[in-house]
């Protein structure tokens, strides 16, 4: 009796995938409930697209002033040609607006270059420092023959980016210190860090901004005044630091204990161990959640409206409240602002997902 087959099994064709219109349509119309869902979705999309096109183009007013928009039923495009520069740059002097444009371009350029993880390093960090100083000098003026522009005239998109970016950049070292303090073995230091982090995370950003705008002047020695913009910036940095600290804590916890023990065995002291061994590994884990946090902060800086700073959302709102346009333009500005935020946040979200994939591939 032969237990082992001697001849090869007959060669069989690979099963044919069921291609064709029927298979392609199966997920949409496979079952009756599915077909109903599909039809409802198509109807919804058609309705939304139709209404949007109607509002944006068919019924829209493309020329003329506020009077023309008052009679029209659709979107009011002349509003943008009149107000776009104010919405983007606020009260920055009209003739000097090439400066915020250049500063924004520098910032976006630096962001674009930094997107590639291969370039990360000390030189890039130094480049960022140079870029930020250059952008600040450009915005503020007063040197190299540039007209001085006080911070009270800054506004719009550059201000939004500045508040959120400097907020997170300033919060990063502070957050690392707080996270290290929270993980410390020394009880007094640990308690101070925990109290700060939990206090800040337990209250809304508005309350911190209120504190900075109303309470901080009371806490300063008499005669010392701090710029309003700087106060809001400090508030955002402190607020962000507590959230960064929690992300850093997560990163620190993900480093295996053996790394700490190995570096102690090498004779490194605490700061050497953190700087050379632990943090470089932890930062890799922390970057994707930090980008997500940044998206949140980019949106949360809109809250400075409440303490009277002219960020992008506020310049859009003031444009709509301009006596010339008030009551005529009610939604256009908000829709525009929403698309701008959507645009930048979507790019950053895609980048965050890219980074997560990149690091996962790097590790396994």
């Amino acid at each position: 009796m032969q237990l082992v087959k001697a001849e090869l099994a007959p060669r069989m064709e690979r099963p044919r995938e069921n291609l064709g219109p029927r298979a392609a349509l199966a997920p949409y119309f496979g079952t009756i409930p599915n077909a109903i869902v599909t039809i409802a979705c198509v109807a919804l999309i058609a309705l939304l697209v139709h209404r949007s096109i109607q509002w944006l183009f068919v019924d829209a007013v493309f020329s003329g002033g506020p009077a023309a928009c008052k009679t029209g039923r659709g979107a009011c495009w002349p509003f943008f040609s009149d107000k776009l520069r104010f919405m983007v740059f606020g009260f920055y002097p009209y003739d000097e607006q090439w400066r915020p444009i250049t500063a924004l371009m520098l910032f976006f350029g630096a962001c674009g270059i930094s997107m590639s993880p291969a370039l990360w390093g000390r030189r890039l960090l130094a480049g960022w420092g140079v870029m930020l100083v250059a952008a600040f000098v450009l915005m503020r003026g007063g040197v190299f023959g540039l007209v001085s522009v006080p911070t009270s005239q800054w506004g719009g998109l550059p201000l939004s980016f500045m508040l959120s970016f400097i907020g997170l950049a300033g919060a990063f070292p502070l957050g690392i210190m707080l996270a290290l303090a929270r993980a410390s073995k020394l009880p007094v230091i640990r308690v101070i860090a925990i109290a700060f982090i939990e206090l800040v995370r337990g209250v809304p950003l508005i309350s911190i901004l209120f504190m900075a705008s109303v309470m901080l002047p009371l806490f300063m020695p008499s005669g010392v005044t701090i710029d309003k913009l700087l106060r809001a910036q400090i508030a955002i940095i402190l607020f962000a630091a507590a959230y960064v600290a929690e992300i850093v804590r997560g990163g620190l916890q993900a480093i295996p204990k053996g790394q700490y023990e190995a570096s102690a065995a090498m004779g490194l002291h605490y700061w050497q161990m953190m700087r050379l061994i632990v943090l470089p590994q932890a930062i890799k884990i922390m970057i994707p959640p930090l980008v997500t946090l940044f998206i949140g902060f980019f949106q949360d800086t809109t809250l400075v409206v409440i303490v009277g700073l002219l960020d992008f959302l506020d310049t859009v709102r003031s444009s709509m409240r301009d006596p010339q346009w008030q009551g005529i333009v009610v939604l256009e500005g908000y829709v525009f602002a929403a698309s701008v935020y959507l645009f930048f946040s979507t790019i950053m979200g895609a980048y965050s997902r890219f980074l997560e994939r990149h690091f996962r591939m790097g590790h396994d």
Binding site: P27, Y28, N34, V37, T38, C41, V42, L44, I45, K185, L186, P187, V188, I189, I192, E198, L199, G202, V203, P204, L205, I206, S207, F210, M211, V214, M215, P217, L218, F219, M220, P221, S222, I295, Q299, D300, T302, L303, V305, I306, L313, R317, V330, L331, Y334, V335, A337, A338, Y341, L342, S345, T346, G349
Partner: protein, 389 residues
């Protein structure tokens, strides 16, 4: 070595001495800064003739609050105004949390649907709402309500007896009576009874290994007390339906446009987060769990209830807690559209009394204590459903 241990520098290298030194230095720094700030503040306040302390709380507030769940007149005290603010905050955030959970779960289910069109639409819904600032969403909702909705006399009837107009939302209201309080109490008793019964049934199942149909008993325990209470008390249910008159709506509960805008904005914003959390919770459970449950002979509903959900909840609860807390904290944006929440009442108080520190400290305390207690409760619940052993 001998020399080193005898040298006066030895203490610098002593780990314990260093630890004490660092802690004392840190503590001293914090205390010094606090004293410095306190000193400046008291000096500044004295120079500007601003009163200190919480005695203002018992003075007459003198401002109108447009919406209040409890009786409030301008002649009442600041303390009562603050209480109204707290209740308004809790009311809008509690409603938003419930609505966002329901909508978010439905969106998550839609996102996981096998129909690509539906799941794509839900993805766009989530992406748009997550990437637009909440404050902008609130302004947009408010602008739509105030400018795009018809005036009160042509109010839209979106459901029977529910009217939407640029004056806000009007819904039927129930006139509260003593009998209703007793029935509510009976409902609480019923909930307690059903918890006890379901525990007893579970213990019996564990002891005997017999799977019996348990839901009729639990439902009976839940519903019996309120039904008995209704039969005994026979309350006359006084529902106040809104009537659309020639120029205005009368009757019912009128919800201001600010409240509606805040509720809609908070709900939409949070629903996107809830959807993402629920989706990741469901996808985190591997298919093998379903297959293992069905190979053990569990029905689909039983495997969902006994195998899948307990595991999903473990993934869902921690991020859900922070979403709920965010809704609660984000309700402070009410001030931007003029809904009289805690922050707005405190802000008015600040402007009227000239005292800045006390009102801000008070509302921060309220937020802090409420968020710490919510997170403590959720931590307790999370510990209950977490893996044991």
């Amino acid at each position: 070595m001998q020399a080193a241990s005898d040298s006066p520098w030895r203490i610098v290298y002593d780990v314990r001495a260093r630890a004490i030194f660092y802690q004392v230095a840190c503590g001293l720094a914090v205390v010094t800064i606090a004293v410095f700030l306190f000193h400046n503040a008291s000096e500044n306040l004295a120079r500007q003739n601003i009163a200190t302390g919480f005695s203002y709380l018992w003075r007459e507030a003198g401002f109108v609050i447009s919406q209040s769940p409890i009786a409030y007149q301008p002649a009442d005290t600041y303390a009562r105004a603050l209480l109204v603010g707290i209740l308004n905050t809790i009311r809008v955030s509690a409603l938003a949390v419930v609505l966002a959970t329901v909508i978010g779960t439905l969106v998550a289910i839609g996102r996981l649907s096998s129909n690509p069109l539906l799941s794509r639409i839900m993805m766009i819904y989530v992406e748009i709402l997550r990437n637009v600032p909440l404050l902008l969403l609130l302004f947009l909702c408010y602008a739509v309500i105030v400018t795009s909705l018809p005036p009160v006399r042509d109010a839209l009837r979106i459901l029977p007896s529910v009217y939407l107009s640029n004056g806000g939302l009007v819904v039927p209201s129930v006139r509260w009576s003593d009998e209703l309080s007793w029935i509510a109490l009976a409902l609480v008793v019923g909930i307690a009874a059903s918890v006890v019964v379901s525990r007893a049934l579970r213990l019996r199942r564990v002891a005997t290994g017999m799977e019996r149909r348990t839901w009729p008993l639990i439902a009976g325990a839940l519903l019996l007390p309120p039904i008995l209470a209704i039969l005994i008390l026979r309350p006359s249910l006084a529902v106040d339906f809104p009537e659309l008159g020639r120029f205005r709506l009368s009757g019912g509960a009128q919800l201001m446009p600010e409240f509606v805008a805040l509720l809609v904005g908070l709900t939409l914003g949070a629903s996107a987060n809830v959807a993402e959390i629920v989706r990741s919770g469901i996808t985190a459970i591997k298919k093998g769990q379903w297959e293992a449950a069905s190979s053990l002979g569990l029905r689909r509903s039983m495997s969902l209830r006994l195998v899948i959900l307990p595991q999903s909840l473990r993934v869902i609860i921690p991020p859900m807690t922070s979403t709920y807390l965010n809704v609660f904290k984000n309700s402070s944006l009410a001030i931007a559209i003029g809904y009289p929440d805690l922050v707005m009442v405190s802000n008015t108080t600040m402007n009227q009394t000239g005292q800045a520190i006390e009102p801000i400290a008070l509302f921060m305390m309220v937020y802090l204590s409420l968020s710490l207690s919510i997170s403590a409760f959720m931590n307790w619940y999370n510990a209950r459903v977490a893996l044991r052993g």
